[in-house]
Structure formats: structure tokens, C-alpha cells
């Protein structure tokens, strides 16, 4: 099959977030102000606020799979199985070599490497005690590979490393592969197991970018004057994507259509964001969707609650949307769940998808004192907002080394 400019639609969603293990539960908590951040004990560091998922891994996996595999693999398998069930597709009957698995990851392998070093420290650092599972657990394709093993998928299955832009990248890449005719059915999105590596906490702490607060549920506070950094979280969200004609032929429920996207790079710093390139990314995605800024009804921000990063994203959004977009509303999902890293983009999109049917925009919570530098027209603060139009969602996800991604999903209209 050759290049195919079909419309690409979302037909299934499977997720686990720190505040919900299904789209229904997640959405309900986003509308009711229920955050999912808790205290965790981090090796060498002590008690820190973090977002932990509480799905039952034995729902789909055997104990042996859990023993051999990774947390990221387990999260991926849970989300993939949930998405497949939700899609209503007859997966057993589908040719497995025409299925693609594309999973975005911020990082992979830190958890497993730290665990092995810790384990051999108990044996005087004798490497004879280093696990023979270390390499299959830490290869960068591990989460996607575990899903392919679990489902018997023989088509392409790999991860996409894109720092914290990775969740969006999973969807974008899947849409591209469906259009290229490389696969007929895609399982895609992003996952993170980052709460199990002390390194990511310690790294943010050394960078002065790790959140602290006496109440963990209030620790992630983008746009608030008192914000003081990132809450590290795990999570996963995988979608089933199909070409529109295939989805219609099987009578699938359609959550929304991939309308447009852009991925670009700052080429300016290892960690500092670049609002000029972010604005460029947003503008290009809007143009790619054949829309204008005023046609975007929900902007889901990437903002992670770092003092500088939030201001810079707001600058980029202000530059694109300005004052002339009365139907554009802006929110942030990390205020509920912290930063789910590779899963962030995919989860945050999912949290907003139900707006197409309920016409409610979930708020950004934990804003007691809005930072004037983060003030934007249409910012939905602390309480959900019923809106007149909810036909388009623009989802920002940015990451270190200057990778930016913007994905636009619109309500499906025949």
C-alpha cells in the first residue's frame, strides 16, 4: 500500500494516571478537582511528592511477565489492552503484521540500571550478581517490545525518545505511518515509569526544579506565584488510531480526528525552553490543521510549574492567540497529576477529549495566587468551565534538548 492522505481518527483510549485508571475515572477527577499526587519514598532521597498509578497489573499480565519485564512495559501492556477493549476492534481476527506499536518515552532504562547497581552493592559490587535481564529490560524499545510480545503483534513496535514531548510524538508518528500505508492499525501514545528512578528526582533537585509542598496534592501548581518546580509522575496513555475509512467500515466509535501537528527544535539550550520556537511550533500546527488561532477552543498547556518555563510557554501562547480569540480556553492537567513525562502529552490530551461531548473545559487547579506573568485570556482556573464551542483541542508538549510538539485533535464531523 502506498502513500494515503486519509483522515486519521482516534477509536480507543486506554490509560493509567495517578488519579484514574480509565478515561471515565480520570475525566471525572479532572472535573471534580481530585489530584493524584502522594508521598513516596525515593531511594537515597526520602519522602517526596510524586504521582503513582494504582492499576492492577495482574489484570492482564501473569506474575512471571511482571517479574521479567519492566514497570514501563507493564504500564504499556495495561494501556494497550484497555485501548483495544475500548476500540471494540476484533483484534484476534486482525493481521498482526499490519499493526504498529509506537510508544513515546522520555527516558527508559534508568530504573532498571539503578536497581541493578543497588542489588550488586549488596554483594560488594561483584558483577556476577548483575541480572541477565538487564539488557532486555533497558533497551530503548523495551516498553513497545513488551506489548508486541504480549499481544503477538509482528508489525513494527518501537519507542520514540522525545523527552517530555514524547506522548504527542507517539500519536503523530502513528498518524504518519497510517498515512504512509506502513500499518493498518496503530497502538500509540506515551508511557513513563520515572517515579521509580531516584536519578530523575535528584536531577531536577540539583537543577532547582523539583516541587516541594507540605500537602502533596497541592505540590504541582503551574501558573501559581508560589510554584516551585516539577512533581515527577508515572503514567501511560495509549490510543488506537485508524484511517477514517477503516474505522467507518467497522462501525467504530470515533473520539476525534488528528487535525494537525508540528514538531520542531529550539536549537538553543539543553534545558531552557525557547518561546519563539514554541510559538512557531503552535502556529505551524494550527496552519497544518488548516485552521486559524481563533478556531482553537482548548489549549492544553505543557507548563510543568517551573518558575521560568511556565512564563515562557505563556509568552508563546500569548504571541499566537493574543486577545482576538474569544472562544479559546487554556488549561493545564499537570496541576492534578504532576508531570507524567513520556506519558504527559498523551494523558493530557485524553483528559480533554470528553470536552467534545460535554462541552466542559477542565480547570488548572492549585492556583491560589495567579502569577501575572502567566495570566492569559481564557485561562480556566480552579473550577471547570462550560463553553459554547468545544470542537478543537490543541495539546502542547515540550521537552529537554529543545524538542517541541503541538498536536491538534478536532471533533469528528463526517
Amino acid at each position: 500500500m502506498g502513500m494515503n492522505l486519509s483522515r486519521i481518527v482516534i477509536t480507543g483510549v486506554g490509560l493509567t494516571a495517578p488519579n484514574g485508571n480509565s478515561l471515565g475515572e480520570f475525566r471525572s477527577h479532572l472535573l471534580n478537582g481530585v489530584a493524584g499526587v502522594e508521598w513516596v519514598e525515593v531511594r537515597y532521597m526520602g519522602r517526596l511528592p510524586a504521582g503513582v498509578c494504582h492499576f492492577d497489573p495482574l489484570r492482564y499480565q501473569k506474575k512471571k511477565e511482571l517479574r521479567v519485564g519492566t514497570r514501563a512495559g507493564s504500564i504499556s501492556i495495561y494501556c494497550a489492552r484497555e485501548a483495544l477493549a475500548d476500540s471494540g476492534a476484533d483484534f484476534e481476527a486482525r493481521p498482526k503484521d499490519r499493526v504498529g506499536i509506537y510508544i513515546g518515552c522520555t527516558e527508559h532504562g534508568n530504573v532498571e540500571t539503578e536497581n541493578e547497581i543497588y542489588a550488586i552493592s549488596k554483594f560488594g559490587y561483584d558483577t556476577r550478581f548483575w541480572s541477565h535481564y538487564h539488557n532486555p529490560r533497558t533497551v530503548a524499545n523495551n516498553p513497545a517490545g513488551e506489548v508486541s510480545l504480549h499481544l503477538g503483534v509482528t508489525g513494527p513496535a518501537y519507542t520514540i525518545g522525545a523527552a517530555c514531548a514524547a506522548g504527542n510524538l507517539g500519536l503523530i508518528h502513528a498518524a504518519q505511518m497510517l498515512r504512509l500505508g506502513e500499518v493498518d492499525f496503530a497502538i500509540c501514545g506515551g508511557v513513563s515509569e520515572s517515579v521509580h528512578t531516584f536519578g530523575i528526582f535528584a536531577g531536577f533537585k540539583s537543577q532547582g526544579a523539583l516541587a516541594s509542598h507540605p500537602d502533596p496534592r497541592r505540590a504541582s501548581r503551574p501558573f501559581d506565584k508560589a510554584r516551585n518546580g516539577i512533581v515527577v509522575s508515572e503514567g501511560g496513555c495509549l490510543y488506537t488510531l485508524e484511517r477514517l475509512e477503516d474505522a467507518l467500515a467497522r462501525g467504530a466509535r470515533i473520539y476525534g480526528e488528528i487535525a494537525g501537528y508540528c514538531v520542531n527544535s529550539d536549537a538553543s539550550d539543553y534545558v531552557l525552553p525557547n518561546p519563539t520556537r514554541q510559538a512557531e511550533c503552535i502556529r505551524r500546527a494550527v496552519a497544518h490543521a488548516g485552521l486559524e488561532p481563533k478556531d482553537i477552543h482548548i489549549v492544553n498547556t505543557h507548563a510543568t510549574a517551573t518558575p521560568q518555563g511556565d512564563i515562557q510557554e505563556c509568552e508563546a501562547i500569548r504571541a499566537v492567540f493574543g486577545e482576538g480569540c474569544p472562544d479559546t480556553w487554556v488549561n493545564n492537567t499537570k496541576s492534578f497529576i504532576g508531570h507524567c513525562m513520556g506519558a504527559a502529552g498523551a494523558l493530557e490530551l485524553a483528559g480533554n477529549l470528553p470536552s467534545f461531548s460535554d462541552k466542559v473545559v477542565h480547570p488548572t487547579i492549585n492556583v491560589d495566587d495567579l502569577d501575572p506573568l502567566c495570566s492569559l485570556p481564557g485561562l480556566v482556573l480552579n473550577l471547570p468551565k462550560s463553553v459554547a464551542k468545544a470542537d478543537t483541542i490543541l495539546n502542547n508538549s515540550f521537552g529537554m534538548l529543545g524538542i517541541n510538539s503541538t498536536l491538534i485533535v478536532r471533533r469528528y464531523v463526517a
Binding site: K64, R67, V68, S131, H132
Partner: protein
């Protein structure tokens, strides 16, 4: 250590390596891999756990001696006893 105690030590390891399997009907004279879903990586786990839990080193050339519970007991019991004598 008796051979039966040695078999129990091996079964304790296998129960962690193959947690989904029913080990109550394991036949001691039949190859473990013919009765259980054990692949080569699982087999390496048995070797690793013998090292970690009991300080027993099994050289690669001797791996075939771990084929069944009976052969494990035959091969490992003297090793357990020689370690016990040293300590």
C-alpha cells in the same frame, strides 16, 4: 542437608521464578523444562538464585546437571554440605 532438603531449596527458587505454575505435581525424575514453562533465561535465574541465596557457583559446563529435581539433588547436595562444613 539431605537430598530432599536440597530439592525443597530448588523448588523454593523455582516458585519465585515461575510464580504462575503449580509445583505440587512436579515429578523429580522428569526434566524441569518438560514440566514447566522455563526458558533459557529462567534457567539462568536458577543459577543466579543459587549464587545469591546459597553462595553456590554452578559452572556453565555443569548446567545439564540441573535438568531435573533428582539430578539437581545429586549435583547440589554435596555442594550445600561442603559449604556448610566450611562455615
Amino acid at each position: 542437608m539431605t537430598k530432599d532438603e536440597c530439592k525443597n531449596a530448588v523448588i523454593a527458587i523455582i516458585s519465585d521464578i515461575a510464580p504462575d505454575e503449580d509445583l505440587s505435581t512436579l515429578k523429580p525424575d522428569v526434566r524441569l523444562r518438560d514440566q514447566l514453562q522455563l526458558d533459557s533465561m529462567d534457567f539462568l535465574d536458577i543459577v543466579m538464585e543459587l549464587r545469591k541465596r546459597h553462595g553456590i557457583e554452578v559452572p556453565e559446563a555443569d548446567y545439564p546437571k540441573l535438568a531435573s529435581l533428582d539430578s539437581c539433588a545429586e549435583y547440589l547436595t554435596p555442594k550445600f554440605n561442603s559449604l556448610a562444613a566450611k562455615s
